[in-house]
């Protein structure tokens, strides 16, 4: 049986109070008994002393009946329990209260037993000198004293019982109210235990219980939060497990002894082993050994720190070997210590096939391109030779007397021939570049001179179009640098020529700045800015492609092969630089070239 705190406290309090109060009552009673004993003795003596003179008359005249009457009368208050007269003729018991009469004191027997009152017996000689008439023997009665003491004790007992009862009721009430929060706590704890994580304790004003209530609420809140986190993690884990399980890739784990400990559906599909057959198998039975050695790449992979990817060959149980890429990462346990490896195996058959096809295509393309370049180079040379012949003959004809009509026809032949020659030269140039036949030189040259030379051919055409052409080389730029001056000039010429060509009014500005001065070289940044027609934004990315102009109509309007910018970009790339353009349609363009040049 579970002991009740309330019953325990009330029981202990009751026993303690009853003991203390009972002890107090007993001590008090003892004191009262002592006092009563003294009073009893005194009362008896006093009464006897007062009675004796009354008795003497009666004894002198021999009137014992009167003496007895007097004794009975004075003892009306019951001071004496027994009165005896001893005289020469014999003793005479005048008064002897029976035990029953004594009990008429109405004090219960147990109470009388507690008192142990010694009843004083006094003897008084009745005499008139020198004659002794009698001896009066009186024994005091305890009845009155017992009655008084019982009345007092009863009152005190009553008060004590009322006090005790009140105290117990008050204590019981306080305990009941005080324990109510504990019962609530038990109920809330039960609810909490059954999964109702919202169970909380109401606030209490009891200082002794407030910390417990706060601790319970804090614990419940922590549990709720913890469980929410656990559920979230469980959900995440389930999702992750589902992802892993349903993944097309083979994902499994091995223990530190490289025995398989988990096996997903992707692994089943790849290796053909069902999970129950795969679990416990050694890792090296899944993959082919390296050619020439019996080592397993995958086993080596697991030992590598940090793990790397390795391509190898998986050995499915029923199907031919499959090229795979294997990745692994350490598998850590709860305590962070490594307990195995996570191994992910991906079938790369398709990728391998694609790579192979791509390699073949690239090889075919490279072969075609090389053949095309060789063809173009060959064909351009073959074209150039007769073109030079035609132009040479035309110049010879120009030196002969000709009619005006013939001269006009000859001019047409020369312009067309030169245009064709330009086209052929450009084709040759791009072909040589793509065929890898263009070598970049590295020799010292005057930077400012090359820049100025690049602009010179266009000064006159610009003047015809009333365009301002400005050139500015930063003062901190070194005078001499090491590079390929011919290709640099070719690049700048192409850019300035384009700018003058596509600008109807405004200006063309060439600026060269240096951005980095190192020990072994200097970075230069050349800008060619014009106020020409600009380039649409969607064309900017293809402006440097071969045979591309922003607008095909431009070729017809402005002439040119459309190969200039492609050649420029490739030359810049050959020199280790980069070319790009910023443009706003109708407002002009800025071409940028950055190069690394050596110090002279």
């Amino acid at each position: 049986m579970t002991p009740s705190l309330r019953a325990l406290v009330l029981g202990v309090t009751s026993v303690a109070l009853v003991t203390v109060m009972g002890g107090g009552l007993l001590v008090d009673l003892r004191q009262r008994v002592k006092g009563a004993q003294v009073r009893l003795d005194e009362d008896s003596q006093r009464l006897a002393a007062g009675t004796l003179p009354l008795l003497v008359d009666a004894f002198v005249v021999g009137d014992l009946a009167t003496a007895e009457q007097i004794l009975r009368r004075v003892n009306a208050g019951g001071v004496w329990r027994r009165v005896q007269i001893l005289e020469p003729r014999g003793s005479r018991v005048v008064l002897d209260a029976s035990p029953a009469a004594e009990r008429a004191s109405n004090a219960p027997e147990w109470f009388r037993a507690l008192l142990t009152i010694k009843l004083p017996v006094h003897r008084h000689v009745i005499k008139v000198d020198p004659v002794v008439y009698a001896v009066l023997v009186v024994e005091a009665s305890a009845a009155a004293v017992e009655r008084d003491l019982w009345a007092q004790a009863r009152d005190m007992l009553l008060i004590t019982v009322v006090l005790l009862g009140t105290l117990l009721v008050v204590t019981g009430t306080i305990l009941t109210r005080g324990l109510r929060p504990l019962r609530t706590l038990a109920e809330r704890a039960t609810r909490l235990g059954r999964g109702d994580l919202s169970a909380r304790m109401p606030d209490t004003r009891l200082a002794e219980l407030a910390p417990t209530v706060a601790a319970f609420n804090s614990m419940a809140a922590s549990l709720e939060q913890l469980l929410a986190e656990v559920r979230a993690k469980e959900a995440a884990n389930r999702r992750l497990a589902a992802i892993v399980e349903q993944s097309e890739e083979a994902i499994f784990t091995v223990a530190l002894d490289q025995r398989i400990t988990s096996w997903n559906r992707g692994a089943e599909l790849l290796f053909g082993w069902p999970a129950d057959a795969a679990l416990g198998r050694a890792l090296d039975t899944l993959f082919a050994p390296d050619a020439g050695t019996r080592d397993r790449q995958v086993a080596r992979l697991l030992a590598t720190r940090p793990p790397e990817r390795v391509e190898t060959t998986a050995l499915p149980v029923r199907t031919p070997p499959v090229p795979v890429v294997v990745a692994s990462s350490p598998l850590a346990g709860e305590d962070g210590a490594q307990i195995g490896h996570i191994v992910v195996v991906r079938d790369i058959t398709a990728r391998k096939r694609a790579e192979q096809e791509m390699q073949q295509a690239r090889e075919r393309a490279e072969e075609g391109s090389r053949a095309k370049s060789e063809f173009l180079a060959t064909m351009s040379h073959e074209l150039l030779t007769p073109m030079n012949g035609i132009l040479g003959i035309a110049q010879l004809l120009d030196a002969t007397p000709l009619t005006a009509e013939q001269r006009e026809l000859l001019d047409t032949i020369e312009r067309s021939g030169e245009a064709l020659l330009q086209v052929i030269n450009d084709l040759l140039e791009i072909s040589r570049i793509e065929a890898g036949q263009v070598q970049v030189e590295a020799r010292a040259f005057e930077l400012r001179g090359v820049v100025a030379d690049s602009v010179k051919p266009f000064v006159l055409p610009a003047q015809h179009k009333k365009l301002a052409v400005t050139v500015a080389v930063a003062p901190e730029a070194p005078a001499r640098v090491v590079g390929d001056p011919v290709r640099l000039r070719q690049v700048l010429v192409n850019l300035v020529g384009n700018a003058v060509k596509f600008t109807e009014r405004g200006e063309v500005a060439v600026t060269v700045e240096t951005t980095d001065h190192g020990e072994d070289g200097v970075d230069i940044h050349a800008r060619v800015r014009d106020t020409g027609i600009g380039i649409p934004a969607d064309k900017l990315s293809m402006i440097f492609e071969v045979f591309t102009q922003a607008d095909s109509s431009l070729t017809r309007r402005y002439g040119g092969t459309g190969l200039g910018l492609a050649i420029t970009a490739r030359l810049v790339a050959l020199m280790g630089g980069r070319a790009w353009v910023e443009s706003e349609l109708g407002r002009g363009s800025t071409f940028h070239v950055t190069l690394r040049l050596g110090r002279a």
């Binding site: 003179p53 003497v56 008359d57 009666a58 002198v60 005249v61 021999g62 009137d63 009167t66 001893l86 005289e87 020469p88 003729r89 017996v121 003897r123 000689v125 008139v128 000198d129 020198p130 004659v131 002794v132 001896v135 023997v137």
Partner: protein, 270 residues
């Protein structure tokens, strides 16, 4: 303590038993109720012890609760010796008591006193007033003053107080206008109580009470007792006793000394 008390009681009772059984029964010595039994015993017990010892007989004080009872005891012959004068009443004359001594000192007189400031000056002023007497059995305190009042032609309202002290106590308490008492007791009372009364009547002198012997008492015993009584005043051994009880001693007396007393009794019909 209890043991000691028990022994004391046993010894005391032993002594009483000795008195009761080892010796012949004491002779009864009656004393007229002039005072309370206790006061009477206080006076007479030492005297009787002395007299008994001197006479060689055991004497024990006997008296009734009242004068009448004592007189009845005397009349029934229960008393061997009596200190009284009631035997001179006619009803007791037949018994034949013998006078063997009388109370010493001045002769007694009847005295009627009033309060010191009382308007009563003479007996006739008491007509119809309350006058206290010890009892109708008293000689000088009733018979003598009653005769005087009758002679004066005065009738009073009699208030019987039981004894001499009682009559004077009534006067002191102003319950009565006058009290008739024995002159000897008046003097003792006035001294004891420190009170002053005014005397309006004083009778002729009468011999004080007599000690009489019952005729059955042997003559030798009577003589022995008489000798002891009369020898007290000259016995140094009794001096202290007499001083304590304020008594001068007994005097010789004869039956004829009380003829005046008989006469008074006869005048009032006793």
């Amino acid at each position: 303590m209890a043991m000691r008390r028990t022994i004391l009681v046993v010894l005391l009772l032993g002594a009483l038993g000795t008195v009761a059984h080892a010796q012949p029964p004491p002779l009864a010595f009656g004393v007229l109720n002039q005072q309370s039994p206790t006061l009477t015993a206080e006076r007479w017990n030492p005297i009787l012890q002395y007299v008994g010892t001197a006479a060689g007989v055991a004497l024990r004080l006997r008296m009734g609760r009242t004068v009448d009872e004592t007189d009845e005891m005397m009349g029934r012959g229960e008393l061997d010796f009596v200190f009284t004068n009631h035997n001179f009443q006619s009803e007791y004359e037949r018994i034949g008591f013998r006078v063997i001594a009388r109370w010493g000192g001045e002769p007694i007189r009847s005295v009627i006193v009033v309060a010191a400031d009382s308007p009563v000056r003479q007996l006739k002023d008491l007509a119809g007033k309350k006058v206290a007497f010890p009892s109708r059995e008293a000689f000088v305190a009733y018979a003598v003053p009653l005769v005087a009042l009758k002679t004066a032609g005065v009738t009073v309202e009699e208030v019987l107080a039981g004894n001499q002290d009682g009559a004077l106590a009534q006067l002191k308490a102003q319950q009565v206008q006058a009290a008739a008492v024995n002159s000897r007791f008046l003097k003792q009372y006035a001294e004891r109580e420190a009170v002053t009364f005014r005397q309006i009547y004083l009778s002729d002198p009468y011999p004080d009470l007599a000690v009489i012997a019952h005729p059955r008492v042997p003559a030798a015993t009577v003589d022995a007792v008489r000798k002891a009584l009369l020898g007290m005043k000259s016995d140094p051994a009794a001096a202290a006793l007499l001083e304590r009880v304020k008594f001068t001693g007994f005097e010789p007396a004869t039956d004829r000394d009380y003829d005046g007393v008989r006469r008074i009794y006869r005048q009032i019909g006793q």
